[in-house]
């Protein structure tokens, strides 16, 4: 997948753990892990909003496009 989730980097920058973040954004630990490990197929705007709010960042900080599939 050419969309990379840099959620772990942002979490490290803000010094926030998986448990704390999942509690704050109100989704289960298991689901947040799926997202963090790039196993998710899609992301809800509500989740993205909650993450941006809690990590005080922009969607661009956690979502990155790399065209590694080309040539």
């Amino acid at each position: 997948m050419a969309i990379i989730l840099n959620l772990d980097i942002m979490m490290a920058k803000r010094k926030i753990g998986l448990n704390e973040l999942s509690e704050r954004i109100g989704i289960t630990n298991a689901n947040l892990s799926i997202l963090k490990n790039n196993k998710a197929k899609a992301i809800r705007f509500s989740t993205l909003e909650a993450i941006c709010r809690e990590l005080k960042c922009q969607p661009g900080d956690i979502l990155e496009y790399t065209n590694d599939n080309e040539v």
Partner: protein, 154 residues
């Protein structure tokens, strides 16, 4: 409907299914004697041939019902656990469909041998049930896909 009431209901249906499974086993186990007794009371003519015919028909029917009831038990087990959207249930529905179609054929054979209104009604019901289950299996397969998609949308 409240989730709790729905779970209680599923458990109740599962209980009925298990009771039916047990009855099926008991009836099959006692069939040689029950059938002999029933035929001695109600039937006149060549008992030996008819006895053999009914024994075969009823045992096949009994085993098919055992199979169908067991698949239904699997389905309601998953419903009870609030997770009915699994591929195992699609398989269960397809199996029930096939078993119903075989049951329908058994009844068709019986219609040609010894006809009765109840046999014909049963034949029709199992035929329709078989078709219903194929369609339901396909509908369920799509529901499972939606559910899996939903689970990976965080």
């Amino acid at each position: 409907m409240k989730n709790e009431g729905y779970k209680v209901l599923s458990s109740f249906i599962k209980f009925i299914i298990i009771a039916l499974l047990a009855s099926d086993v008991v009836v099959m186990a006692s069939l040689p004697w029950t059938l002999q007794w029933l035929m001695s009371v109600f039937y006149e003519g060549n008992i030996a041939i008819m006895y053999a015919f009914y024994m075969v028909i009823l045992y096949i029917f009994g085993i098919l019902m055992l199979f169908i009831l067991n698949e239904l038990r699997v389905i309601f087990n998953s419903v009870e656990k609030s997770d009915p959207f699994i591929l195992r249930n699609v398989t269960a529905l397809k199996r029930i469909s096939k078993a119903s179609m075989i049951t329908c054929i058994i009844f068709l054979v019986k219609t040609f041998a010894v006809n009765s209104l109840m046999t014909m009604v049963s034949l029709f019901i199992f035929f329709i049930a078989s078709l219903f289950c194929i369609v339901l299996a396909e509908v369920f397969r799509r529901a499972v896909e939606y559910k899996n998609d939903h689970d990976l949308t965080i």
